[in-house]
Symmetry: C2
């Protein structure tokens, strides 16, 4: 590739040229779900955003090791350092072993991702599967003097860290502001400062999820898992770390701090954050209770939904916005996405039926360049889609005979649409998959109309033949006053 890929780096707040650590290879880490409920529309945004990144990096020739974790321990209610574990709480409510909760919602998440045509990551590690690695990080933090023990729990000492490194460099927050904006700690608190965060928590007696450690039987803090798993599978320095903007602070800031504290340097070259899905202007979130699950979208089963929205409508809806813009849920927007996508797939059908001329009056190279330019400009999928719609006009003009295309250009045009629509945007033609049922319906209607004509012409032999054969195929045919009804019995 001669073209350069630009990525907006949250760390520098600018678009930077992407240069991988090892030429030809990319290490990509993305924060996956905390599996204590079914995935909702908000969860599909990072999944689809980084699926687009993964697909495009592969498309332009990189070998990508894509690690997306499953958080199955340590994520406490309200994202806090105190209180119940989200999974443990759900397990108690459902009277299940926590790992049964984890398995149920991990299965559900994988199922939804498959429907959305989100590719499986190269490695899908779990937080509980990396307790030792997290304990090793806690040990290093303590050894370097950036942590302290309090009642068997270990906290990261943000003030101490801030003396040597700048805390807040990723999120842009300042320690002074953080401290002045939070409550004063009373003498009961285990933390020295409200800015500190837990990296190991001693388990209360009733806490089921617990492991032995040098400090207590307990469990790792939520912020330690990703740094443990990312550096284990991608190395102490790796290319891209992605996640939702809601994870920027404190989760990712805490990762940067632990990385600097233990390794003496940052691990991540490019931090990427997708913006939120909103509903009535507020972030859609499980904790906020204002969510609609993906399965509810697919089935149209929620009071706020006017209809069912198929997985590809959801995917197209997401891709029609740039990943760094907010995206507000509305039925109107989803219905517009549906119409747009149908128009796109219709044009691919037309494209497939075009024949080549000896000359070209259309400029395919320029269309192609615009699509790649958009992707290279921080994965700008809405611009790609706009360009593909410009191409639809070209395709229609070719079909109408108002423009001509030669054989080489036609190959290029088809390749462009197949590459971008199916491989890079990852869309699937759902109607084609369901198409046979529709066609079957059309064909049977045609036959029964012929039979009605035959009856009108008193051609009983023909009329009976059609009826008998269809019945033999398993159809049940009901004659009505003004036509017919039929059903395929199975």
């Amino acid at each position: 590739m001669e073209q350069q890929l630009f990525i907006y780096n949250t760390l520098s707040k600018t678009k930077e040229v992407f240069t991988p650590i090892t030429p030809g290879f990319v290490g990509l880490y993305v924060c996956g779900p905390t599996v204590y409920g079914h995935a909702h529309l908000g969860h599909s945004r990072p999944a689809i955003t980084f699926d687009l990144v993964f697909r495009y990096l592969k498309h332009i020739g990189y070998k990508v090791r894509y690690v997306r974790n499953i958080t199955d321990v340590g994520h406490l209610v309200a994202d806090a350092d105190e209180g119940e574990d989200k999974i443990g709480k759900k397990a108690k409510l459902d009277k299940l072993e926590p790992m049964e909760v984890v398995q149920t919602y991990t299965n559900s998440y994988r199922h939804d991702m498959e429907k959305l045509n989100v590719l499986k990551p190269s490695i899908e590690p779990t937080a509980t599967g990396h307790i030792i690695e997290q304990i090793e990080i806690v040990k290093k933090v303590l050894a370097k003097g950036y942590g302290y023990e309090s009642n068997g729990s270990i906290y990261f000492d943000v003030a101490k860290y801030n003396e040597d490194y700048k805390y807040g460099k990723l999120s842009g927050r300042k320690l002074e502001d953080l401290l002045s904006n939070t409550r004063i700690l009373d003498g009961q608190d285990e933390k020295h400062s409200s800015a500190d965060f837990a990296i190991w928590k001693k388990a209360q007696p009733e806490h089921i999820m617990r492991w032995p450690s040098p400090w207590s039987d307990g469990f790792p803090g939520w912020h330690t898992e990703c740094i443990a798993m990312s550096t284990k599978y991608l190395g102490e320095r790796f290319d891209i770390h992605g996640g939702g903007m809601d994870l920027l602070f404190p989760h990712h800031e805490a990762e940067v701090a632990q990385s600097c504290a233990t390794l003496g340097h940052e691990s991540v070259n490019y931090w990427m954050h997708n913006n939120m899905v909103t509903i009535d202007g507020q972030k859609m979130g499980k904790s906020l209770g204002n969510f609609i699950t993906l399965d509810q979208f697919f089935k149209g089963e929620h009071p706020l939904l006017q209809q069912a929205y198929s997985p590809m409508i959801i995917r197209f809806f997401m891709l029609q916005a740039h990943y760094r813009s907010t995206l507000d849920f509305s039925n109107e927007a989803l219905q517009a996405a549906q119409k747009g996508m149908e128009r796109l797939f219709k044009s691919i059908e037309v494209l497939d039926s075009l024949s080549a001329s000896t000359e070209s009056t259309v400029d395919i190279a320029s269309l192609k360049a615009k699509c790649y330019d958009a992707m290279n400009d921080d994965f700008n999928s809405p611009i790609v889609i706009a360009n593909l719609f410009d191409g639809v006009r070209i395709i229609n003009s070719l079909n109408d005979g108002n423009e001509k295309i030669n054989a080489a250009d036609l190959v290029e045009l088809k390749k462009l649409y197949y590459d971008f629509v199916f491989d890079i945007l990852g869309l699937q033609d759902e109607q084609a998959a369901e198409g046979n049922n529709e066609v079957l319906s059309d064909v049977v209607d045609l036959l029964l109309n012929l039979r009605m004509e035959a009856k009108a012409n008193k051609d009983w032999a023909m009329s009976d033949k059609i009826r008998n054969e269809l019945t033999a195929f398993g159809f049940e045919i009901k004659d009505k006053k003004d036509g017919f009804d039929w059903e395929l019995k199975k």
Copy 2:
């Protein structure tokens, strides 16, 4: 349930009445695959066997916690205590991080299991996810005096254990025989005796998969993972442990030994072992190189396969043999299974079309009792299937009008077939799912035959109408000398 369920217990070598530890609940642990290659026919046997057990236990009203693990570390080549890790070796060959190998083949295994309609377990834990738990077991073995350290590795001292407990009680092997049948250890060996087995192995410098432990950076022995995960999720005593007969010794024997050594008692009440799939009389195994993968069966892509065999043919083939019998692969047997299964589904179609009379001349209660008796006799699926075929004769007699059935009996008969065929045996009607394509083909052929007749009658209006409408629906029609060809273009 008034009926008693009998299970053949490998430990007692008799069929025993099944009595769960907690009334109404069953804890079931099954050894899953070592994920370093695609699953083959042999792997589907334990999966389908214990899926049948899982389904039946649920059917008769138990709440079952089913744990099936993924072995992703510690399983060394040739199932030995020395040599390369199976996954590490594959990772080296494919130039991948071991966890990428694990992810690839775990995905592949899950995909195949879904095709075989094998239900997902309640918890699917991994060996690498439970290193701490395994280290804790090693510590306990050492504390109880049944293990020793040698060069940073820890071995289970079988002779010492045998003084207090009987080693070999599960497999029936005797320590004396084991010792006299194996090579004499030379002075170089880390083990004191060839019967001893590794529970922790120090990693060689080139070994990638390694974790810190009190003894060395290393990895757990293969035999420790299952006892760690089963007791963690099912308790120190649980109901059923299943697996292939090839795991009986040394794997399961070593589990019993570690359980007694650390807890002072056995953990498992009922040990169940499925027999092997053989090919030319030899066990089909990845290590033996004589395997055919499930995907090759589904696609018919292997020199030994005369055709493709769908997932349900494989499943029916497995269920036609009792799980404790060997099952020899042959094309003839699979084709017979296919015919049998088609006959069964055909009869369900007929059953659905039956109407009730005022009286019954058939004995449904007796048929039902025989099916449950067979399942209660150590999950005897071939006898269930034989009874369902006896029922096919009843269904056909009812259809022919030679027998009569009243409404209540008809409900019972339908429920019997739906319960056993779909829920308990877990079969699916693949033809019904594919049926629409077949029907479409039939209907289009009928239309084009009508068109040929119309042409023969010089009814050009009719002939053109059929052609034009089909073309509009997306069909491409090619007239041939003696008929026609058509294709649905998409």
